[in-house]
């Protein structure tokens, strides 16, 4: 009887495999430690345009947009990648929102990352403009764009145009109008701000909003009235070479059509020696 040849043992090979794997892991750990903090933009460089990915995704463009969006959140949360914002606009504007033009989270989060993290407000506005064009009924996109112009760029005429667009959208949240009114105050156009806050106060559905609007109306009315009185006293001084003896003199001289009363219905204080009107009450918002 012939004995079957003994099979070679495999444990030497397994040990060799384990040793090599341990060496590879050690080398990789050392390499990671060495390259920590270096650029890691390689995964982004070959991302093509969303138009091509749409074809390549074989009808699963929504899923592709979702996957890329989730990946982008991870990617832009990695603070170790110093130049991670190099392609941020391309990723959100040309890829994710090309794959799914109605992906609201991608517009809003992308814009947020561009403004807050990447300090690229113009890129954010281009992304939001695309969102507005694709989703004209979504007030939040125009509101966000307006907020970027209002808060970050301090470009009030541009902010006003976005806010007006948001206000015109259906089912707009009431806060948009309040931002719109407040923006004019910050921009120095107190008369328009007063007009907007007054309209909010008159049309408010709940007591809280009405009370908030009244606070603004109160202080803005004081500012606007004192501004009007100051202009009129200066016109009076230019015409007669002296300050008016009392505020009603302004009406009588025809330099002020209607002498305003303060928000509490009392006449404004007036210092005839200095030709300066003042408000005897206290401002509600204290500014």
């Amino acid at each position: 009887m012939i004995a079957a040849p003994a099979r070679p043992r495999r444990w030497p090979m397994v040990i060799l495999a384990v040793l090599l794997l341990a060496a590879a892991a050690s080398a990789q750990a050392a390499n990671e430690k060495r390259s920590a903090g270096s650029a890691a933009i390689a995964p982004l460089l070959y991302l093509p345009s969303g138009r091509y990915l749409r074809v390549a995704s074989l009808g699963f463009d929504g899923i592709a947009a979702d996957a890329l969006y989730l990946w982008s959140i991870q990617y832009y949360s990695n603070y170790r990648i110093e130049d991670r914002y190099r392609y941020v606009e391309h990723i959100y504007r040309d890829i994710i929102t090309d794959l799914d033009p109605h992906y609201m989270d991608a517009y809003l989060t992308g814009a947020l990352i561009m403004v807050i993290e990447a300090k690229q407000p113009e890129s954010a506005l281009r992304l939001l403009d695309k969102g507005i064009a694709n989703n004209p009924a979504e007030w939040i996109l125009a509101f966000e764009a307006g907020y970027v112009c209002y808060n970050d760029l301090r470009d009030y005429p541009r902010a006003a145009a976005y806010f007006e667009r948001a206000i015109a959208a259906p089912d707009v949240h009431p806060i948009v109008r309040r931002f719109y009114a407040e923006m004019y105050d910050r921009a120095g156009d107190k008369r328009t701000s007063l007009k907007e806050w007054s309209a909010i106060e008159e049309t408010a559905d709940d007591d809280y909003v009405r009370a908030v609007a009244w606070n603004h109306v109160h202080d803005l009315k004081v500012d606007v009235d004192l501004g009007d009185i100051r202009s009129a006293t200066e016109a009076f001084h230019a015409r007669f070479g002296r300050w008016p003896a009392s505020l009603p003199d302004l009406e009588r001289a025809g330099v002020l059509r209607d002498l305003p009363l303060d928000p509490e219905g009392r006449p404004y204080d007036y210092d005839a020696a200095a030709g300066r009107a003042g408000y005897g009450g206290s401002r509600v918002l204290g500014r």
Partner: protein, 188 residues
């Protein structure tokens, strides 16, 4: 990859492996011979494609030596994937081998995301699991420098040496496992 996944299992299926193993040959030699054959085939494929690519670039007046490095590293990535394909081919049938190799190819390019996950985890055990996986799974990122080269981003010094070393160590480990698997495999 598609060549590698059926390389061993198909020999077993068609029973042609019996003819080979009847010769005075170690089973590990059979596996390594298959691997080397595939490595040479890939070398020819990659070489021809690279030659055409370089010819087109030269015709357009583009000459960047870094592209050569990128092609070499791409070839090294092929070698590692081929080693994985051979291992799975020793373990399973072509379909399962294909799926497993494809999965490891995708995972290999996403190992970096385990670092992101680790940074967000609170549990020490979960962090350790992430670290372990990121070191044990094949990492194909060191071989992928084509993006940097095309866009003129400087490639870290020592990248080629590290990639080559990693290929030798990890690829060696995978081939040793493939040999160990095939040595005790019942061939019926």
């Amino acid at each position: 990859m598609l060549l590698g996944i059926g390389l061993v299992s198909r020999e077993i299926e068609r029973r042609t492996v019996y003819v080979l193993l009847a010769k005075p040959m170690h089973r590990a030699e059979f596996v390594l011979g298959k691997y080397v054959g595939l490595v040479l085939t890939l070398l020819v494929n990659t070489g021809v494609m690279a030659a055409v690519f370089v010819a087109v670039l030269l015709a357009k007046g583009i000459a960047d030596p870094a592209l050569g490095v990128a092609i070499v590293m791409l070839y090294m990535e092929f070698l590692l994937i081929t080693a994985l394909a051979i291992l799975f081919s020793c373990l399973s049938n072509p379909i399962i081998s294909c799926l497993l190799t494809l999965a490891l190819y995708v995972i290999g390019h996403l190992v970096w995301s385990l670092d992101l996950l680790r940074a967000r985890l609170a549990s020490g055990a979960a962090k350790a699991a992430c670290t372990f996986l990121s070191l044990v799974l094949p990492n194909l990122a060191p071989f992928d420098i084509k993006g940097q080269v095309v866009h003129g981003v400087p490639v870290a010094p020592g990248s080629l040496a590290f990639a080559a070393g990693y290929l030798v160590l990890y690829g060696g480990a995978v081939l040793a496992l493939a040999c160990a698997t095939f040595q005790r495999k019942e061939l019926q």
